[in-house]
Amino acid sequence: MMKIEAIIQPSRFESVKEALAEIGIEGMTVIEVRGHGRQKGHTEVYRGREYTVDLIPKVKLEMVLPDQLVNRAVEAILKSAKTGKIGDGKIFLTRVEEAIRIRNEERGEGAL
């Protein structure tokens, strides 16, 4: 099992969700986050006040998938989140040792 963490542009969220649904992935955790990588923030001036946007709004998706689905999921995210501009985001993969469904204590991939 692998955990996929994808940090994407908020504007691409709907497309990514749809692309994942097409390959049968419906369950995920979605978190509203702020941050920046190479895409630095900028400064807006409104009515004499400077507003520095150094942390840019992003959406973080988290999902744990069986190994055989991981590559397809990554591909779906890449395709649907990519605009080619700086700030498109990142995908992180981590190995997951165990998953447990709280309701019935089912373990392993069956719990996903």
Partner: protein, 864 residues
């Protein structure tokens, strides 16, 4: 046999059979009251049997130990899966010690029989003390009922022991009950209108009814709380029966003490016509309206009672002091209402037969934020419910409604208006969403509640410490035509209650009928239409577009059209998301909204001269203006409109453009055309003239000389250098308001100054000296920013500084002295802060770096 207890194997099936019989009885249509009574009798019977047998077997004497029922069970109201609240009352500590094994076995047996026992033990002495940190226990004790054991012990407790302490602790219990009730109501957002309500604890639930009973009992209204509420009015009895039936149904359906009326169970309850006896088929939404009606009855009764009873004990001195205060209503201005104890009270009920008087009261509430007392609402409700009473002016005119909607606290008036049915009377379209449940994963409230909450979230912006509100508060304070924004919010979701595919279409249909009935001006209707039609656009842009992409900003700016609309749409979107549920507007979303607002606002001010009007491309608009101007020649209208910034089109209606055109035609005979329109002490001046040096400064100078404070202004020029300036100003000394005859002289003075017939300086001399002598209330530092990149021909200069009368004159004069031409100007104020954007050119081009520096120095010196 007498020395043994009935085995569980015998008792449990008997108990289960009885429960099943009662369940079937309920399902076959027995009333909730009957069901609860039978459940209570079953529990009583089993408890007495088990308790009695155990006492016999254990040879425990019947002296010194009594078993009491408390809380709901004490009131003889026991729901299928509710806890049994029991109290073991001991004569002394010795009996307590000796009774422990009996109590343990008794409790175990009841658990094994399927009762959820929640028990407490107290000695006689302990009952004398009021536990300050356990008000819930003492409140449950108010409903005590003897079950078994030593009856004389109970009677002594009831008549001798508790009498004194309970009487003395009434103020404490009342205050605690009020605190607990307020906390409970707040936990549920202080509204009955939840989509999946908890029928016990949510506002309007059964707990409201019981809290009212306790309050009445503590206030001495009812001596014995165990008397069933047969004397309560019909509405209350019917509400309690309805909600009790639902709670029974929920317990049976969930097979546990779960009181949440979920969507699924709403559908099932509607299918069974639960709680109704009219045999009408209702869908879930219609059935839920019955629920809200009953919940409203119980909640209103509770709130009215909470207001009537002060939460703390008052000394005689305080009571006398209060009586003195109450006898002197605030105001004393002949109005049939007054503020008492921080609430608006009616002082002359008869006057309320005239709806105009009711609206006067509501306008006062909206203006001051002071709520109507429940008694005031009750009086109005009485008048409204009795059509035989003479009633006048039941149709609210738009100017009256507009004043309520445009005030600082519109929600404070709209809430009672909705409760009393006045909102539906004024806006019958609102009936479509009255208590309407629309199933949705995110929304927590009914559609009417959501709509009212949007308005309350906006009025909270005036004084909010919520970090999400920080950026939006200034927008609310300065928004233009707040009344239109609030009306749009009332209407924006009405389509959800109409048989249309897209609710926006329905809401726009509702606007059509409302606008006709209220006789809205076409431009007012257009603004509301825009807000309803686009009420989801900003949210969609934030969530589905890259708001840092200039193309997204440009596209959104094209939708919004003007800064004024953007401001209203931003507030509407903020409120709309906020009112979905308490967590919907995350700081992240609020920040995104704000980012889009700032980018779009800056886009407007930086691209004003980029987009100019080509009249020949605007056939339909041209024709409309031409017709409104009395079939004027097309070529002449084209010549007038050609070259104005597109903002001109966006901020003026066709009728206004036609009026401007009429003024333009008169320029040949009279080179300065002015028009002054006013409302209260706020006025608008429109001026048309051929461009000339220091034109803007001269107009601003005359306004300053007359003591007028400019709050907003636009200065545009067309391709033929005809300037159209509009100034909104506040008549600080009420000169024009109190002397309308001075308006022509004011206009003449403007014309004379512009035509060089009268010098400006002597007019200004005395006025400006007085103004400069007055220190500002809030210090605003001056900031000057130049931008050469946004316009092809001009340099943008943004000036932020302390606002004061005469400021624009000083700025304009300085610009004129340095030969800077104002191509476009946008003047705005935010409290004591002036925010002015000028598009400047010199010798038909942008300002040179050297000129900018000189200008900066001169203006810094002038403004400081």
């Amino acid at each position: 046999m007498e020395d043994s207890v009935t085995p569980l194997s015998v008792l449990a099936p008997q108990c289960d059979a009885q429960r099943e019989r009662i369940r079937k009885l309920f399902e076959s249509g027995a009333s909730a009251q009957e069901t609860l009574r039978q459940l209570c009798e079953l529990a009583d019977e089993i408890i007495r049997r088990v308790f009695g047998e155990l006492q016999r077997v254990r040879e425990a004497g019947s002296q010194g130990l009594a078993l009491l029922a408390l809380g709901g069970y004490g009131r003889e109201v026991l729901f299928p899966y509710s806890d049994l609240d029991l109290l073991f009352l001991f004569g002394n500590e010795k009996t307590e010690e000796e009774s422990r094994p009996l109590i343990a076995e008794f409790s175990r047996t009841l658990w094994d029989l399927g009762f959820r026992v929640s028990s407490a033990g107290r000695t006689f002495e302990e009952c004398r003390r009021i536990e300050q940190d356990n008000a819930e226990f003492h409140l449950a004790m108010l409903d005590r009922r003897f079950l078994d054991g030593d009856k004389s012990l109970f009677e002594r407790l009831d008549s001798k022991v508790l009498g004194g302490p309970e009487r003395q602790s009434r103020p404490f219990l009342m205050a605690e009950l009020q605190r607990l009730t307020r906390d409970r109501l707040a936990r549920y957002g202080n509204t009955i209108f939840h989509l999946e309500p908890n029928v016990k604890d949510a506002p309007g639930g059964l707990r409201d009814f019981h809290s009212t009973l306790w309050m009445r009992q503590l206030a001495g209204d009812r001596r014995d709380p165990r008397i069933s509420p047969v004397n309560e009015d019909e509405l209350t009895r019917s509400a309690v029966e309805f909600l009790s039936a639902i709670r029974c149904f929920l317990h049976y359906s969930n097979e546990r003490n779960d009181n949440t009326l979920t969507y699924e169970l709403q559908a099932e309850a509607a299918r069974r016509s639960l709680g109704t006896d009219d045999n009408l088929r209702r869908n879930a939404a219609e059935w839920m309206r019955l629920y809200y009606r009953h919940a409203r009855t119980l909640n209103r009764q509770l709130l009215r009672f909470m207001e009537q009873r002060p939460p703390s004990a008052l000394s005689l001195r305080q009571r006398l002091l209060n009586a003195t205060i109450r006898s002197k209503p605030e105001g004393g201005n002949g109005k049939p209402f007054a503020v008492r104890d921080g609430l608006l009270e009616i002082t002359n009920e008869q006057a309320y037969a005239d709806r105009n008087v009711t609206y006067l009261l509501l306008t006062e509430a909206a203006r001051t934020g002071v709520c109507l007392s429940r008694e005031a609402e009750r009086s109005i409700a009485y008048i409204m419910a009795h059509p035989e009473l003479p009633q006048r002016n039941s149709r609210v005119p738009w100017p009256v409604l507009s004043e309520i909607l445009g005030a600082d606290y519109p929600g404070v008036a709209l809430r009672p208006m909705h409760r009393l049915g006045l909102l539906i009377e004024a806006l019958p379209e609102f009936r479509n969403i009255d208590s309407l449940v629309v199933r949705d994963f995110y929304h927590r409230y009914t559609v009417d509640e959501h709509s009212l909450r949007t308005i309350e979230h906006l009025q909270e912006l005036a004084d909010s410490s919520d970090p999400r509100a920080v950026h939006f508060a200034p927008l609310w304070r300065t928004v233009d035509r707040r009344d239109l924004l609030i009306l749009a919010l009332l209407l924006h979701d009405i389509g959800k209650g109409m048989p249309v595919e897209n609710h926006v279409t329905g809401s726009l249909q509702a606007l059509e009928t409302a606008a006709d009935r209220l006789k809205l001006a076409p431009e007012e209707k257009t603004e509301i239409h825009f807000l309803i039609e686009h009420h989801l656009d900003m949210s969609a842009t934030v969530q589905r577009r890259d708001i840092f992409d200039p193309a997204t900003v440009a596209g959104f700016a094209a939708t919004a059209g003007t800064h004024e609309r953007l401001q209203r749409l931003s507030l509407l979107t903020y409120a709309d998301i906020h009112a979905v549920n308490p967590e919907a507007l995350t700081p992240w979303k609020a920040e995104m909204l704000w980012q889009l607002f700032v980018s779009t606002s800056n886009y407007f001010s930086r691209t004003l001269d980029r987009d100019r009007l080509h009249a020949s491309d605007e056939g339909a608009m041209l024709e409309q203006v031409r017709q409104l101007a009395g079939d004027a020649p097309k070529v002449e209208v084209e010549r007038f409109l050609e070259g104005f910034p597109r903002r001109y089109l966006a901020v003026h209606s066709a009728a206004e453009m036609a009026a401007h055109f009429e003024m333009y035609r008169k320029l040949a005979t009279d080179p300065v055309q002015t028009e002054v329109k006013g409302k209260h002490h706020s006025f608008a001046l429109t001026l048309l003239a051929a461009d000339r040096p220091a034109l803007f400064a001269s107009i601003a100078g005359v306004l300053a000389a007359w003591g007028m404070n400019i709050v907003k202004a636009d200065a545009f020029a067309n391709a033929a250098n005809v300037v159209l300036d509009t100034f909104q100003f506040v008549d600080l000394h009420r000169t024009l308001e109190l002397n309308p005859g001075e308006i022509p002289r004011f206009q003449q003075e403007i014309a004379d100054v512009l035509n060089g017939k009268q010098p400006l300086e002597p007019l200004l001399r005395g006025r400006l000296a007085g103004i400069l002598a007055r220190p500002p209330k809030v210090a605003v530092p001056t900031s000057l920013n130049f931008d050469d990149s946004s316009s092809e021909h001009c340099t943008l200069m943004e000036v932020i500084t302390q606002d004061r009368p005469g400021l624009l004159y000083e700025l304009g004069s300085a610009l004129a002295r340095l030969s800077c031409n104002i191509d476009v100007a946008l003047i705005d104020t935010e409290g004591q802060k002036a925010i002015d954007v000028f598009y400047l050119s010199a010798q038909s081009g942008k300002l040179t770096a050297q000129k900018r520096e000189v200008l900066r120095e001169v203006l810094q010196a002038t403004l400081s």
